[in-house]
Amino acid sequence: MTDKTYPKVFITGIGTVTAVGRDYESTMDAVFAGRGGIQRMSFEADGGFKALVGHVPVALPARERLGWFARCASDEAIVAADLAHGSVDRVILGSALGQVVDDGWPIGMGAVDRIGMETARRYGRRDRSPAVRAINSSFVSGADAIGHGWQAIRFGEADCVLAGGVEAPITPAVLAGFTAMGAAAPVQGDPAAGIRPFDLHRDGCALGEGAAFLVLESARSATERDAEPLAELIGYGTASDAFHVTQLPDDGDGLLRAMADAMSVGGVQPGEVGYLNAHGTGTPMNDRIESLVIDRIFGPAEAQPWVSSTKPMTGHLLGASGAIEAAIAIAALRRMVAPVSLNLTTPDPECGVRIVAGASQPFERSITMSTSMGFGGNASALLFKRHIP
């Protein structure tokens, strides 16, 4: 089989819920305006334990948040795609932690599978349920869900895929776990300035919650129903560096191969990428290795894309981060603007890439990229192309 036989894959609907917006449009307005959503949260029941979080401002009990986020984002994506009931033939859902609230059932990853099935029931065909896949590749889950959807369409298994990620990690146990690892940003000071990817003084991430879903459609399906594509998904690459559960190898091997594979399969040259939404957690190691890889992949200065991390706004949505950041990379193409990387005041000489500092930055190239890395050595990259009808 040659590449010529693969159908094109379009994104025809997007839905998101994050700390900075209850839907896609409001989330993107905040992201491109550089409005952060990080706040300090205090857990009185746990001795006033504090953490920085990207909390979705909705008064829902902890147990109901995971399902509600998934429902909001998937409903929005379906409505945005203007899909009639019964069009979806595959649902792919990624999450890193699943249900981590110890009051009810199912718990853990079982809840993710359950939510995937519920999602399929809402949008699938009545006569035949869509295929449902729940996956976990740690913080790459959302990106891999989208990548698996792309593969399903390319290999002729599906025409219309609803893919995304969901996470509700703001619980004392999970926050305490990240704090104990030294991965959480310190709680003192101004929360809005707390997460500083690529800055010399960066010192950790803030967990965020929410969900993002994309509707992926074969060109045939989109054309038949006269849908307006938001973008084309042209490349996906995934790799494992098999190095360490939480540490990255010095050469960023897994991410390097994931990005190179995505570009190779997408037929994309370095100078064609206008904006890269980086994983950019704000931890010292992540941003340093990621910068090194980006620099190596794109080569000469004129070929480097604009780079930002949007995690200072949304927080780190763990298994949903790859999906929300794919949604941002698509919005960047539609606006032809790279969103700002907040809180970059002292550039780190070891992060020598073209960071969008200060304010969002217009660009002209027609391709954007989103990258994700996760515990366990996972890395994936997605490439989107501007759709010109």
């Binding site: 853990g108 990853m109 449902v132 599906a158």
Partner: protein, 422 residues
Amino acid sequence: MTDRIIDPGRRRVVVTGIGAICAIGNTAGEAWSAAVAGTSGVTAITRFDADGLESRIAGEVKGFNAAEAIGRKESRRLDRFAQFAIVAAREAVAISGLDIAANPTRVGTLIGTGMGGMETFESGSEALAKGGPRRVSPFFVPMLLGNMASGNVAIDLGTKGPNYAPVSACAASAHAIGEGALMIQRGLADAMVVGGAEAPITRLSVAGYSSMGALSTRNDDPERASRPFDAGRDGFVLAEGAAALVLEDRERALARGAEVLAEVIGYATTDDANHMVQPAPGGEGAARAMTLAMEDAGVVASDIDYINAHGTSTPLNEKFETQAIKRAFGDAAGSVPISSTKSMTGHLLGAAGALEAVFTVNALRVGILPPTINQTTPDPECDLDYIPNRAREKAVRNAMTNSMGFGGHNVSLILARADERA
């Protein structure tokens, strides 16, 4: 799923290694011997104090020393499900003789799980409740994550290709096998380490499944509690363990002189999203998965000489599974031998499909069908040949193994004897 386009030129996928650790054996070989002998691995729960729970029995792994198997320091940083995964995957790779380091980026790992790090979740929650946030371990998050069997197996073996954990409940490791085979067929990898791992014998999960009324309460007679297809079945027996298979592109496996244990010739999935928890009445979705898998394999019902059933030992599952087999196999349903090895191992949830695929590979290799034990009172609604109580000698050309998840996934895999399609 939409019906798959069968590509006549697709790469063939073979099994070159198997590994397992479960209630009836700490290696694939031990577990197979015990299965052929009809041994139950179900006992009273020893992992925690089960007093007060409705179900107090389980299929526990016995005599497992993680520190010895994996190393003291490493094992303490792994949840039990990831420990099991490493042990099973190492065995599978050792048997296959695959040199992963020769081409690591072309080898991927998919290890599914239904639940993830449950012991870690409970001990972390307990630490928080008793000692506050400062008592939560730095290893809490990396041990809890559901991809940590898959991730740690990749790290342990050095596989650098695609890696993720299917978490599709009780179909998770069947998905891992099927999707891993697809990756090889499509040229996305040359070899895949696939399987599943589960360590659900904790107070929270036993209580959770109990509250659903899913578990057997035959607490005074654990060895006879798992009795799929028998009229006296009253629920499944929760079990732990892991199983792994090495899948390879057939040409590459033959070129390196590997012993082919079996060939993966068919895979299909359907999902009953309209029927949460309970399988669809009439077994329609499960039947369709079996039919599609036979189409994918290019075989007909009479070519299948053995079915390893999902057979959980719940009243509804076997009633519907029997209907599904009849629907998919038609006239051949009455003559195909079927067994549920869960009668001996208990139900390993996300690891069950892989363990049962390992048993199925052995049935193909040696021509012995493992039994369904504890068959004393036939259920008139389950009237097929379930290989009751004693293993049976029978040459097997092709075998099917079925997995049906609690969320309603149906996965059918068809394996062929190594020389069947030479």
